[in-house]
């Protein structure tokens, strides 16, 4: 589980709290879809869970093997070969190095690039490579910011088949606005809105809240108008 203790995360310049004094326990053996109308807040939320950004106040404790966000690329050594990078990531996360290297090599099918420095890998292949690498390491829970697979169709198909295999036994925290994807892969819903975070055991209940939030935020794109408007459902009372 991932435990949030009175976590506050302020946006740039101290405004727009992504989380405002949130305490919650996020199960790592469930597949959670996190909905929210603010895409920036969802990205920051995933970064917080992954430890890529620290909370402004409060503490996050991870009592599970939490993945880095799917496709997270920046910590890789650009002078190292892909093989060395894969081995490093596996070693760092205490996974079977040979198994992970073999897996990425066979699934990603990057051919000669696999033994070349990462800096020579074409840009369009970097994200797909990092995506396959994320799924190659057995984590207790995977974190995905909106996208489960990147790259061309072939890569996406490969990544999704690996992903589906993984989430049979591992948890998932997926930030998304795509209800179809959430219904397909998730069994729990959560809402992230105006600094509040609320988990719903019932995914459909979370979707209903999200749709209401979206409907109240959308008309004429007027944020002020949305603030004035009465929430259409009582579920929104927690957030407005």
């Amino acid at each position: 589980m991932i435990v949030l203790e009175q976590v506050t995360k302020l946006g740039e310049g101290g405004a727009n709290a992504v989380l405002a004094g949130v305490s919650a326990t996020i199960p790592t053996d469930r597949r959670i879809a996190v909905f929210g109308v603010d895409d920036f807040a969802k990205t920051v939320f995933i970064q917080l869970l992954a430890g890529l950004t620290p909370p402004t106040h409060g503490r996050i404790r991870r009592h599970a093997r939490v993945s880095f966000p799917v496709g997270h690329f920046s910590p890789m050594g650009h002078k190292l070969t892909l093989r060395q990078n894969v081995a490093h990531v596996a070693r760092l996360h205490d996974a079977n190095v040979a198994e992970v290297v073999r897996f990425v090599e066979s699934v990603a099918q990057l051919g000669r690039y696999f033994d070349r420095p990462l800096e020579r890998l074409p840009m369009h292949l970097r994200m797909p490579f990092a995506t396959i690498l994320t799924y190659a390491v057995p984590f207790d829970v995977y974190l995905a910011d909106g996208v489960l697979a990147r790259g061309d169709r072939r890569f996406q198909a490969l990544a999704m088949s690996v992903f589906e295999e993984r989430v049979r036994t591992s948890g998932l925290v997926l930030t998304t606005n795509d209800i179809r994807t959430a219904r397909k892969y998730c069994d729990v819903g959560a809402i992230l809105h105006r600094g509040k975070f609320m988990l719903h055991e019932n995914l459909e209940a979370a979707i209903r809240v999200f749709e209401s939030l979206k409907a109240s935020a959308e008309p004429a794109g007027q944020a002020q108008q949305a603030e004035r408007a009465d929430p259409p459902r009582s579920d929104l009372d927690d957030f407005l």
Binding site: E5, L52, R62, V66, P75, K79, V89, D94, L199, H200
Partner: protein, 272 residues
């Protein structure tokens, strides 16, 4: 089940405790992985490591050759080069540690890596680099200059190097934190520490200096590192100025201060 019924942090019994052995094992796995990657990166880009050992080698030649030509007699012992090497080695080990410690920002590392892991790894890498360099340097001097290049007493030498590493780690960590707020500090510090070389007793036997200079220079902990290291090579080296406890407490204080500063300002530095 209603919204949010997943337990709260206050229900502490939900949180499983990891056995200490697992925590320690995982820590060593992370450090070993980071060390291995650093070693690979240095093999791929050896310029940094070459500079790290190139500067002391160049300084040794730049000071040693003129001193041999002008003075003929070494300040102490049979060889000018050996005398200088016993001073430059601990001094540059300290410089390396205090200027080249690094901590990547959170976006540039995996969540499993913590800031201090990077600090420890860069310290260990500097020690490995200097162990190899020191072995090569003193082995060369043993064959080319004097058999005294093989240390006679290991304890003072190892003690000096251990305290140099401890202090270098502390000062290096402090510098990393300062550089996060003021990037220009790295240039200022590099200049200051190199000027400080003159007051570190590398080129002279400190006990032969006038008392007023000696008492002033004795505030510099690097001078005590150099004096203690020389006792490993020259058993009768004059060391009236040496104050081992001053060095020990300086090293402990520097390491403690660096660690406290990093912990206290971590939230702010991680945002930068």
């Amino acid at each position: 089940m209603a919204a949010g019924d997943f337990g709260s942090p206050s229900s502490g019994n939900l949180v499983p405790r990891m056995p200490l052995t697992t925590v320690v094992r995982r820590y060593f796995v992370i450090i070993a992985a980071l060390l291995r990657r650093e070693a690979l990166l240095r093999i791929h880009s050896p310029l940094g490591s070459l500079l790290a050992i190139g500067e002391p080698t160049l300084m040794l030649l730049a000071w040693g050759i003129p001193m041999m030509l002008l003075w003929h007699r070494p300040p102490y012992g049979p060889s000018i080069m050996l005398f200088l090497a016993t001073g430059f080695f601990p001094y540059y080990l300290f410089v390396r540690l205090s200027t080249r410690l690094w901590i990547d920002n959170p976006a540039r590392r995996f969540a499993i890596e913590k800031p201090l892991d990077h600090a420890f790894v860069s310290t260990i890498m500097a020690v490995i680099e200097y162990a190899i360099f020191g072995f090569g340097l003193f082995a060369s001097l043993y064959f080319l200059a004097s058999p005294l290049a093989c240390p006679t007493y290991a304890l003072p030498l190892l003690g000096s190097l251990a305290l140099t590493v401890t202090m270098g780690f502390g000062v290096g960590l402090t510098n990393v934190i300062i550089r996060k707020f003021a990037p220009w500090w790295g240039i200022i510090y590099s200049g200051l520490i190199r000027v400080g070389m003159i007051f570190s007793g590398i080129h002279v036997v400190v006990d032969t200096l006038p008392p007023e200079y000696r008492s002033l220079m004795s505030y510099n902990p690097i001078l005590h590192m150099v004096e203690l290291a020389r006792l490993g090579f020259y058993p009768r080296y004059p060391h009236a100025t040496l104050d081992v406890w001053y060095l020990v407490w300086s090293a402990i204080f520097a390491a403690f201060f660096g660690l406290v500063l990093e912990r206290a300002l971590r939230r702010r530095t991680e945002k930068l």
